[in-house]
Assembly symmetry: C2
């Protein structure tokens, strides 16, 4: 299947890339016109649109970027991925998170001929039923009390994505249960969270695909012994807990747990928010129908990413323009700036999604690359960031491209007009519009300390209101952007070998097997 006329070349071998390198950089201020604002826009799903009028790309750049995406067969590679191609070359795995949302190119079968999409749907049906029974009081804690809180134990992809989505949905819909998270192996994390919960009314979700994640198993044991220490008559710690894991993990099918839900090796941690990893907690906290709406939004974006032509394909444009910023203009950092407090932890999720996927220095065949790959990604919500690090963004010595996200309406609709008849949402968005212009155009001043050089590029993703559908579309927008950029860099965006060495050294140190004198010396400093 991998041979479907798809070929793999490094970015610096692509003709369109070489042509891009010969173009002169353009003046952002000249490019930024009202007609550009009207025209340089493309749809993502659920009514989201991506505006790139404040990006330093003109017609020639766009033509060459389009040629580049064709020359490097980005849509063909996505099609191959969606059809079950082994795109995670390092681990020799399919990459099927899209299949949690929809069958983009039909059924995908595993080696035994089983329908993998049907498996994901079956799991979704199972955890939807489970959530429904918890909400109806048919499934209760082991002492018979209704569950009112759901607490996820997981780290990395089992934490950042689900947590960001949970926080983003809290104001979008009415919650059915309170959601909490424990991730860090630091015992203070668990201690702080556990200090605020009712053991009898809390349902724990243990999330580890491999079933071997050190932090997660340590925190599971910590939680189970904490539950035991409460000495509540009739309370069975295991029966307050469900697992989300792969069917082959040591955690699978445990009789000591209340239930288990399954994922498989074709869904990587940072891409797992729309699988059971995010689905169980979101379905419990907000209801299965809310999670379904999120999947619907994501599926809309996936379909656009796969089918829309370049100028109408927001994730593809975002990926291509990001590549131009990184490999032609050589900007090493991107800031993600959502003007929505509900997205307070969304940048932390994108940081993992982007940096863990594309922070790679060899191509998909293991050959060292002669060009830069994934940038550093960071961000905080606006307007908070304006009163913090924006100083450097405006007047620092480096240019940092910006990715703004905004919504026409607030989530909760609880707002107030001031004496001038202006509400907070309007102020929020006026700030956002003003920042785009300030960054792009700058301002001369006789006092050089008050001058703004401008020429700071930004894009804007804008939606109506941060609903479950819009949130799903936003999530899928970035997943697809990152995937497309991985194709452009000719890397494998779906493994994470870079996390292994630290794990190995930790294990050796804890088991007393290390002979590394410096490792032991640092360890001693910390004891």
């Amino acid at each position: 299947m991998e041979k479907n006329n798809i070929s793999y070349i490094d970015l610096d071998q692509a003709k369109a890339f070489k042509a891009l390198e010969t173009l002169s950089p353009l003046s952002l201020e000249k490019l930024l016109t009202t007609s550009a604002i009207a025209e340089k826009t493309a749809a993502s799903g659920a009514g989201l649109s991506y505006n790139y009028a404040a990006m330093p790309v003109g017609e020639k750049q766009l033509e060459l970027l389009e040629q580049l995406t064709e020359e490097m067969q980005l849509i063909g590679k996505f099609r191959l991925l969606a059809a079950g191609g082994v795109m995670n070359t390092g681990e020799k795995r399919k990459v099927l998170h899209h299949l949690c949302r929809s069958e983009l190119v039909g059924k995908v079968l595993d080696e035994k001929g089983q329908d993998i999409g049907a498996f994901y749907r079956e799991q979704q049906r199972r955890f939807s039923d489970f959530a429904g029974k918890v909400h109806a009081g048919e499934i209760t804690g082991s002492t018979g009390k209704a569950f009112t809180t759901v607490l996820q134990i997981g780290i990395g992809g089992s934490d950042l994505g689900p947590r960001a989505l949970y926080l983003a949905l809290e104001g979008a819909v009415e919650a059915k249960m309170k959601g909490l998270f424990i991730s860090n192996v630091d015992p203070d994390d668990a201690a702080a969270v556990l200090s605020g919960i009712d053991p009898e009314r809390t349902l724990f979700i243990l999330v580890s695909k491999s079933g071997t994640t050190q932090e997660t198993l340590t925190n599971r044991d910590l939680v189970l012994s904490w539950l035991e220490s409460k000495e509540i008559p009739g309370l069975k710690p295991g029966k307050q807990m469900v697992a989300v894991t792969s069917a082959t993990s040591p955690l699978a099918g445990s009789d000591t747990l209340l239930d288990s839900f399954y994922i498989d090796d074709f869904i990587g941690g940072r891409y797992s928010s729309t699988s059971a990893v995010g689905g169980v907690i979101l379905s419990l906290a907000f209801g299965p129908e809310v999670f379904d709406r999120l999947l619907k939004g994501a599926a809309e974006t996936d379909a656009i990413a796969l089918n829309a032509p370049f100028r109408e394909n927001a994730p593809l444009l975002d990926a291509a323009i990001g590549l131009y910023l990184r490999n032609i203009l050589h900007y090493p950092v991107t800031a993600v700036l959502p003007y929505s407090q509900a997205l307070s932890r969304f940048p932390a999720h994108l940081q993992q999604l982007d940096m863990e996927s594309n922070g790679k220095r060899v191509n998909r065949d293991g050959k060292p690359l002669g060009y830069s790959t994934g940038p550093v990604v960071f961000g905080e919500p606006g307007t908070n960031g304006q009163h913090s690090f924006y100083q450097l963004l405006h007047q620092g010595t480096d240019i940092i491209p910006l990715q703004f996200v905004g919504f026409k309406k607030s989530q909760r609709g609880e707002d107030r007009n001031d004496e001038a008849g202006i509400n907070s949402q309007r102020k929020l968005n006026a700030n956002l519009a003003a920042q785009i212009i300030a960054f792009a155009k700058g301002k001369e001043d006789v006092n050089p300390n008050k001058s703004f050089p401008g020429g700071r590029p930004s894009s804007l993703l804008v939606g109506d209101r941060l609903s479950p559908e819009v949130l799903g579309a936003l999530l899928a927008h970035f997943e697809n952007k990152v995937m497309f950029q991985g194709f452009l860099w000719n890397i494998n965006s779906f493994d994470q070998e870079g996390v292994q060495l630290g794990k190995i050294l930790t294990k050796k140190l804890l088991s007393g097997e290390t002979e590394d004198q410096e490792l032991m010396a640092f360890d001693t400093l910390l004891r």
Copy 2:
């Protein structure tokens, strides 16, 4: 006073800097020896120590960096600043946050001959008394109920530092009141926080030095009208609120409020955590004696920064080595990685502190600079980050220097040994030690995808337990590091003109006075 033998030159005019530029880069792996780990260490306050054995600086670099700090008179400039020199040249202000902690070089008088330190101490005495009366039930809400929650309304420096410290102290000591924060002008921020509080038992702290911050006044009005909307008999919204502001602000001395506490123009927002801006909420939440302990730790670090010789001066070493990374090795980003969940928002505070202070492109006299200044700063707690963006740090195409923070003991002491007798804190710190080694040394593998290039520099700040004193020392360590780096770059680290343009454009847009067509076009997209 500014003429005390102090002169100002740009970094690239310094002889020692030119000499540094001629040295060949060193191999980190060769530098990292057990004797280096034992020797390359210096004290900050409260028992904190800074270890730089995994930094790419050898004896020659250190000698030249020491010469550089002398040539550029860093200690002399700090002494001048502490003595009341007008070091904020842009705004023509003294810079006196250290004076909230101690009189480093004696009394500082204002233009009327008043003792400024005495004013800060008087304010601390006033809010300590106030907090004591709230805790004793002598000051209550307007309906006579005891205050149990304290909610700060502020943004930027009135939010990030106090919030980071609040979260860091929650596990360090027993709380007397619950603390909450509203910062963003996004109405969803206030709505979410207000939905969980008891209006009669919540004391609001309104924090704005100028008394004119758009977001903060908007949120004040939103909170006051929310309180009114509750129609609780006897409840007087203003009498549930205190202000922290300057004596000349429109908020000062308001009869409609319960009380007011004062700061002045000599304490910048991002340096204000140890003034009333942080002191009121921390004294209410944890008790005045806890805030006092924090000040004590900060004062210890300040004294080391001012008095210790180069090799024994942690903030000075950290600043100088950071400069080497930025201006000799040309690394544009620094990651701050605390292995402590209690410091979950400390990187966000440091992001403001560093990027708003040193994200400047002109020198203190307004002359454009020919070298890089402040880096991008970002970070998340370990071990969480290991399962997220560390992939790029280990195997990405760029080198990102790392600043680790760790503690020998957990804060809460609620831990558990596993079957092998290893507790969570030990696992946490073993991970930290392992990461330092993995980043520095890397590992060859026959599979290039599993190879780690190493050569990734890191430093380690290590303390015993994150107590109030240690937290104060940590805060002051970074404040002094950032100040010293500003001196090295010959910039003014104490203004923030870069935030002004966006404010002006927002105001014009909201008042209908703008004629910028592109600004209006983006605004339309968001309505």
